[in-house]
């Protein structure tokens, strides 16, 4: 029996390493090194506000990451999540600020629009048979245009903390005795745990992995692949809605025409966390760790004097590196 199987080395065969996954351990190490490096290089980074700032980036990226992980596991991708985030946040926020609907309704609308767009993506991919990257590229453009058209090109500010209906912001950050607490991570953890269970312990998750592993075989096993492939994009849409709420309530304004590029941070995070571009393999915990690296980079790089333009270059390179590792990993597996 044993000689029929592929062998690893002593490290990868260690039971703890096996349970957690080599890649995740490496990611945690990289994370520690990054934090140590930024702390050593910049005194500004060693402040409490840095944690808040890292967290602010983590919230929306984590939600985007969780959603897109499902698409990646099916062997697809969702590129519409970046402009989608802005689009859904704009629509929800516009209704709150201009049409005076209650914030809770605004939140629901944001999620609903996300789910709707996710469904459209899913159907185009699963029923229409379009390559996911192309289909979602188109909806990425469409979302960009729609968001802008919905607000007639205006930026939208969700209600600030001080405002009467500013409670949504307190879902992510509250002030207790003069100290700001980043409680948004509770939501991230909560949804991460739920989606981890969905991915590993329920039928939708099982079938989504199966589709990414071998779609035709899954179909022949009597699984409704159209339904579950669509569902992956619906998850992605829903979590983009959540990300929109997180983004709108941690940052200042949502501007129409922006958002492109966020999807790359999220996808990059997921791939760093061990989710494979070729499908069938992925973990929510890994994605959370991966986007955490992205957030630390986004917070840390300005502290050592590298502004937004350098960040783009570095994140672009990180992305290439992550995909290179993924490709190499798959080659070794094959």
């Amino acid at each position: 029996m044993a000689d029929n199987q592929k062998k690893g080395n002593a490290f990868t065969n260690n039971p703890i390493v096996k349970a957690v996954g080599t890649q995740k351990i490496v990611v945690v190490l990289v994370l520690i090194i990054l934090l140590a490096f930024f702390s050593a290089a910049s005194s500004a980074f060693r402040q409490y506000s840095t944690i808040l700032s890292i967290m602010d980036y983590t919230y929306y990226l984590a939600f985007l990451g969780i959603g897109v992980t499902f698409c990646l596991i099916t062997g697809g991708v969702d590129l519409s999540i970046g402009t989608g985030l802005v689009c859904y946040g704009l629509i929800g926020g516009y209704l709150i600020t201009h049409n005076n609907i209650p914030v809770i309704v605004g939140i629901l609308v944001t999620l609903l629009v996300g789910v709707l767009m996710g469904t459209v993506n899913g159907l185009i991919v699963s029923l229409g048979g379009l390559p996911p990257f192309l289909a979602t590229l188109c909806t990425m453009m469409i979302a960009r245009g729609l968001g802008s058209l919905a607000t007639s090109g205006l930026s939208v500010n969700w209600p600030p903390t001080a405002a009467e209906n500013g409670w949504a912001r307190m879902l992510f950050k509250i002030e207790v005795g003069g100290v700001k607490l980043p409680i948004g991570f509770i939501w991230v953890l909560l949804f991460a745990v739920i989606m981890s269970i969905v991915l590993n312990k329920t039928k939708p998750g099982r079938y989504i992995i199966a589709i990414g592993s071998n779609k035709e075989a899954t179909r022949l096993s009597g699984v409704n692949v159209v339904k579950y492939q669509t569902l992956a994009y619906v998850f992605s849409g829903f979590f983009t809605g959540l990300a929109a709420i997180a983004y709108a309530n941690t940052f200042q304004a949502l501007a129409p025409g922006t958002g492109a590029g966020m999807e790359l941070n999220a996808i990059g995070g997921a791939i760093i966390g061990g989710t494979s571009m070729s499908g069938g393999m992925g973990s929510i915990a890994g994605t959370i760790l991966g986007v955490f690296i992205m957030s630390v980079l986004q917070t840390g790089l300005p502290n050592i004097g590298l502004q937004a333009n350098y960040q783009q270059i570095i994140i672009g390179m990180v992305l290439i590196l992550a995909v290179l590792v993924d490709v190499f990993k798959n080659k070794k597996l094959a």
């Binding site: 029929n4 312990k201 099982r206 992995i209 592993s213 071998n214 899954t218 022949l220 009597g222």
Partner: protein, 497 residues
């Protein structure tokens, strides 16, 4: 043999331009293994697809357990107890064995998948079938043979009453085939109806009770296996007698120069310390069971896959072959076992495919000399008797045998002296087969040298001047054609260390 469990009567099915099934009959009894035979394209798979609801039938009736039924998809067929074990593996490599077996009908407890229970059930199933596989192992980590066993276990776990095996033995080793037959006999004991599709005549004789033969989408007849001979079945399949006489002596002179010498080739797990020589004008057969490492040896030699060590000498000179480019430069051509994936570019023309390996010879400055390209391609179409309306025909519209000829033309245009034929007649019907054989003999007569990898014993014995046998990545035998017998080859092919 028990009572009739399944009857297909007058099944008719047409696709645009093709009459795929022409009023076919099939009757399966409880407790029998029923072989379904026919050349490629005879309609066996189509018939089974109609049965399991993948295709709908145009005419005819299917009676199952006394009632007329029509399954509209494989799932319905499965639910009723008609299950197919597919030729190509249908597994999800990233999931575990148990997760694969229970895909689509997971055992749930409170909305959550109960993987523990599923592992237990899978283990029970394996115990019952005497298969030694760990249900918690990831599928992609198993050998192909083990994966196939899982596939069979999965089919059986569906409470099947009729099981269709579509060429199950193609990927199995001898030992695994024995295991498979044990399982099939066991199922027969339990009064299941079994359809067994295979091209291996020996297996048909060993395992089946009756044989139904199809030809060109039509029903030819049904025989009792033990009352008929191999030739009877072949005659029904092709409608004519074919002679598969083995070659008795090598036509290569003793002092023919060595054109290719391979020493201590190592590549991955499937090629271990392989050494051999190829003489001018020789057909060197590579025999062995599936997974013996023959294709891997050819690919490593050709530079298609990386090799770890080993020296290659062409015409006595040492050469470095790291990529297919290097190999082609040395005058080696490789005809892959999987034509559609590795041999031809299907949606390009015959001419474009023919000149693929030697386009630089067809350049006029920076432009492709289309006239010369067409003219040379036409010459080879005529020389190889390729059936095509013209050289500007897309290869996708050609039959398997003619596609193979286009691949041969590609290497002849390139003027390769050493040709590696990997399963040259796979997926090619009997008539085209003998044409390919004729062509190979003609090529060696003209001074080319051929390495022929084949899983068909008759092909090896009929074509080779010398035979190399491999097993599990090693060369385990080398026989001159004069001394080669099926038994000796099989003995070497199962020599394990």
């Amino acid at each position: 043999m028990g009572e009739v469990i399944l009857t297909m009567k007058g099944i008719d099915k047409s696709f645009p331009g093709v009459h795929a099934l022409d009023h076919v009959d099939l009757e399966i009894r409880k407790g029998e293994v029923h072989a379904l035979m026919g050349e490629n394209g005879a309609g066996k798979s189509t018939l089974m697809k109609v049965l399991t609801g993948i295709y709908s039938k145009d005419e005819g009736t299917i009676t199952y357990e006394g009632k007329e039924v029509t399954f509209s998809n494989p799932r319905e067929a499965q639910a009723a107890g008609v299950v197919i074990v597919h030729q190509e593996l249908n597994m999800m490599g990233h999931l575990t064995v148990a997760q694969n077996i229970f895909i689509g009908r997971e055992i749930m407890s409170g909305g959550i998948i109960d993987d523990k229970k599923m592992n237990e059930e899978a283990r029970k199933l394996f115990d019952k079938l005497n298969i030694d596989i760990d249900p918690t192992e990831t599928m992609s980590r198993l050998t192909v043979g083990k994966q196939q066993m899982c596939e069979i276990a999965k089919a059986i776990s569906h409470d099947a009453k009729v099981i269709i095996f579509d060429e199950p033995s193609a990927a199995l080793t001898e030992a695994e085939i024995e295991e498979l037959f044990k399982i099939i006999r066991d199922l027969r004991e339990k009064q299941l109806g079994i359809v067994y599709i295979s091209h291996r005549m020996d297996e048909i004789k060993v395992i089946t009770d009756r044989v139904t033969v199809m030809r060109d989408g039509g029903y030819v007849g049904t025989l009792i296996t033990k009352d008929c001979t191999k030739d009877d079945i072949i005659n029904m399949m092709v409608g004519r007698v074919i002679y598969e006489d083995p070659k008795t002596e090598s036509t290569v002179p003793k002092d023919a120069p060595v054109v290719l010498r391979v020493e201590h080739l190592n590549a991955g797990k499937m090629v271990k310390d392989v050494s051999f020589e190829l003489h001018k004008g020789e057909i060197l057969g590579f025999s062995g069971l599936m997974g013996a490492g023959r294709t891997e040896t050819a690919r490593a030699l050709f530079g298609a896959d990386p090799k770890e060590s080993g020296d290659v000498y062409v015409n006595g000179e040492k050469v470095e072959i790291k990529t297919p480019q290097d190999a082609v430069r040395c005058g080696i051509g490789y005809l892959s076992e999987d034509r559609k994936r590795f041999g031809i570019v299907v949606d390009k023309t015959v001419a474009e495919n023919s000149t693929m390996a030697s386009l630089e010879r067809f350049m006029k400055g920076i432009f492709i000399n289309k006239k010369k390209e067409d003219q040379v391609s036409q010459e080879y179409v005529e020389a190889l008797k390729t059936k095509t309306p013209g050289v500007d025909q897309l290869v996708v519209n050609l039959s398997g045998g003619n596609q193979q000829k286009v691949v041969i033309a590609k290497w002849l245009v390139r003027n390769c002296d050493i040709l590696i034929f990997d399963e040259p007649t796979r997926g090619i019907d009997v008539g085209a087969k003998s044409e390919i054989y004729h062509l190979m003999n003609q090529l060696v007569a003209e001074g080319k040298s051929i390495i022929m990898i084949s899983s068909e014993m008759t092909e090896i014995l009929r074509m080779s001047d010398r035979i190399i046998v491999m097993c599990e990545g090693r060369k385990t035998g080398e026989l001159g054609i004069e001394e080669a017998t099926q038994e000796r080859i099989m003995h070497a092919a199962t020599l394990r260390n």
